[in-house]
């Protein structure tokens, strides 16, 4: 009895020691792709920390699906060519709980204990911020697909690459489209979530709008995870803008639409950076989703011919729907694209050497099912235009911009709430 406390402490210490010394043995269970270090047959292991719980659980799931779908496909095709042999692809994914500390911790684990060769990105700018720093520290390449904030890439990192179009470009398509539909459009209101990504989107839109001679009559940011934006909407209503642009995440987008309807705010063009293209958007809003447009990193309707494992956006969508039972959101596509970037770089490098692959990535220029994959010296993909999609009254999403990729015409103007 008297010893109990000593035992307790001893146990504590042993626990710590065991974990530390032979910690390397831990963490296998969540490996999605089986094999570790390849003896005879070679295996390329990619690692990623993705949000499977917490506030980005949903988006994280898309990311994971995208990664997995690619791995499944490429292994069907035998694997990735490295020099003269082909290597099977394995994937190791952890749940970062939508928490940056955890994200960093997990990436460090992937590198120093699971010894993955290459890293894939998490979801969200915050976590990407944290993890790119780790990758840089260990000089392991990380191709990420879900952190669009340019700030991440202005740190002069050598090993970070992003396949997606950077934030400032998100809303440009909508502005071009609006002006194309009606040259008399004068005023635009822009609201942004107070977050690294959203603010860049908004600022980019503001600069572009002014460049195009539009007058920005309202420009403000709202608190993260806000539960009520009616005050904001009220303020906007008073300004009565032609275009209302929102920069944020699905949550806020839904909120803004709902409350814009409550307060009967009906601009001629109603557009968002993120949200309208996600399946939940229609699910959550029903008919109210009609006519609302959203920027899209990628859409299944894009007309692209590629010689990657998917070939065309349509094929990707088909495979995705077959595996996960819904149309692929763009997060899934860009995540798969990150792996395609790796594949092409590895094939070009003809080796798995981290620095050779890194250099190959830097000089990559490839047209994938997702769009053009090419990185500027900062590691951002500024060469891929954003598409614009519109929620049609028939309940479907159609690409309406850029014109050459459009599958349906852009319905203009937005049908006022009180005339429905």
């Amino acid at each position: 009895m008297k010893r109990s406390f000593q035992i307790l402490l001893a146990v504590l210490m042993i626990a710590a020691m065991v974990l530390t010394a032979c910690g390397k043995s831990g963490g296998e269970k969540q490996a999605a792709g089986g094999g570790q270090q390849g003896g005879e047959k070679c295996v390329i292991t990619f690692g990623a920390a993705v949000s499977l719980t917490g506030k980005y659980a949903k988006e994280g799931e898309y990311v994971k699906n995208g990664y997995n779908l690619y791995v499944e496909q490429i292994n069907k095709h035998g694997g990735i060519k490295v020099g003269n042999k082909t290597c099977e692809v394995a994937l190791k994914i952890y749940d970062d709980e939508s928490n940056a500390d955890r994200s960093a911790q997990l990436v460090e684990k992937l590198i120093t204990e699971d010894h993955v060769q290459f890293l894939l990105g998490p979801y969200g700018s915050g976590n990407t911020y944290a993890t790119t720093a780790i990758a840089e520290k260990y000089q392991v390449p990380m191709v990420e697909a879900n952190g669009a904030a340019t700030k991440i890439f202005k740190r002069g990192f050598k090993y970070s690459f992003a396949v997606l179009t950077p934030a400032p470009y998100y809303l440009r398509g909508i502005i071009d489209m609006a002006l194309d539909a009606d040259p008399n459009i004068k005023t635009v209101a822009i609201v942004a979530e107070n977050g690294a990504f959203a603010l860049e989107v908004a600022q980019g839109a503001k600069d572009y709008a002014e460049e195009k001679g539009l007058q920005v009559v309202y420009f403000d940011k709202y608190t993260k995870n806000t539960k009520d934006v009616s005050s904001l909407i009220t303020a906007i209503k008073a300004k009565n803008p032609d275009i209302l642009l929102g920069a944020g995440h699905l949550q806020d987008t839904l909120l803004i639409v709902k409350q814009a309807k409550d307060l009967n705010v009906s601009p001629k063009v109603f557009g968002f950076s993120v949200g309208p293209t996600a399946p939940e958007f229609r699910k959550a809003l029903g008919k109210d989703a009609d006519y609302i447009v959203g920027g899209a990193q990628w859409t299944p309707e894009l007309k692209i011919q590629s010689d990657d494992v998917f070939g065309t956006p349509q094929k990707f969508a088909e495979l995705y729907k077959a595996k996960y039972g819904e149309m692929p959101p763009y997060q899934a596509a860009e995540s798969a694209a990150a792996l395609i970037a790796y594949q092409k770089a590895i094939e070009a490098a003809g080796s798995l050497d981290k620095d050779k692959v890194r250099d190959a990535l830097a000089s990559l220029d490839f047209m994938s099912f997702y769009g053009r994959l090419k990185f500027n010296e900062q590691g951002m993909n500024v060469y891929k235009p954003m598409a614009v999609m519109q929620n049609y009254p028939d309940g479907k999403l159609y690409t309406v911009w850029p014109k050459e990729a459009a599958t349906k015409p852009f319905i203009y103007p937005f049908k006022p709430w009180d005339q429905r």
Binding site: T53, T226, K227, S231, T234, L263
Partner: protein, 290 residues
């Protein structure tokens, strides 16, 4: 500033205050009578919201009609939790109950996320978004409905606490636990009832919220803090106090929302601290209801 902003803002604030009062009232009686800060209050609100959501999506039950059901559900949940868990530590230092309810919140939210996923959901009955206008001012039906129902429930609570035997027992417990015991009030019982009542009201609030706002498992936290702010602003210990606090808070939130959206909460919070500091004891009214 535009007069439209002003008038619409005022209307929004008043409508919002109803729901907020309901959000805070349950929190307030639990605090007032059990002297417990129930961190899990927001989680209960979330559960209420999901009850309404599921009844609506699965059986197409009108959200307003589902309110009683979510109240009953939460009543049971609350009763069990108080009777068999919180009652065990009710006399421990404040930190203990604080952390206990915090842990409860973690568990509830995590389970909710696990079973229902983290994504945002909305209850969209046919009439959602519909409303009428007075001048340029827009008045959505759902918010008006929420407002009316909140007042109704608050009124009912008042009647219950004042004119029923159980209600008196609960109030007695809040006033003087020993005196109450002498009068043969079963303390454990009356505590459990109080907590259950608070939870039921949280459930109702959740249902109403789910009609006007999108919901997700983590939605509750914001409301717990609001509930606290309102209790402090209005003064703990009386239903009118809570309603006053709710109105006050609604105005702060709405107008800081119009003129400084990013600092919405910060402003409200600093107001709270200021109130606390200028009358630290004044606010701490005797904790019982009348």
């Amino acid at each position: 500033m535009g007069s439209l902003e002003l008038t619409q803002g005022v209307v929004n604030a008043i409508l919002l205050s109803g729901t907020l009062a309901l959000v805070a009232i349950g929190f307030s009686i639990v605090w007032g009578i059990l002297n417990i800060i129930n961190i899990a209050h927001g989680a209960f609100i979330m559960l209420g919201a999901y009850v309404t959501y599921w009844l609506f999506t699965l059986f197409g039950i009108d959200p307003f009609l589902s309110i009683p059901l979510s109240m009953v559900t939460l009543f049971i949940v609350g009763y069990v939790i108080q009777r068999y868990l919180i009652n065990l530590v009710i006399r421990a230092p404040l930190l203990v109950t604080f952390l206990l309810t915090f842990a409860l919140e973690i568990v509830i939210i995590n389970l909710a996320t696990f079973f229902w996923k983290g994504d945002l959901r909305s209850v969209t009955p046919a009439y959602s978004g519909a409303g009428f206008t007075i001048g340029a001012v827009q008045i959505p039906y759902v918010r008006l409905g929420a407002f009316v129902i909140s007042l109704l429930l608050t009124g009912l609570l008042h009647v219950f606490l004042t004119y029923t035997k159980t209600g008196n027992a609960i109030r007695a417990t809040g006033m003087d636990i020993d005196a109450a015991r002498l009068q043969g009030v079963k303390i454990a019982q009356s505590y459990a009832l109080t907590f259950a009542l608070g939870s039921a009201l949280a459930g109702a609030a959740g249902s109403l919220i789910s009609i006007s706002f999108p919901i997700d498992p983590t939605m509750g936290g914001a409301y717990t803090l609001r509930a606290f702010l309102i209790c402090v602003l209005g003064g703990l210990g009386s239903i009118p106090g809570v309603m006053l606090g709710a109105l006050l808070y609604a105005f702060i939130e709405v107008f800081s929302g119009i003129y400084a959206p990013g600092l919405k909460d910060a402003i409200a919070l600093f107001v709270l601290v200021f109130v606390l500091i200028v009358r630290p004891t004044g606010i701490a009214g005797k904790a019982f209801y009348h």
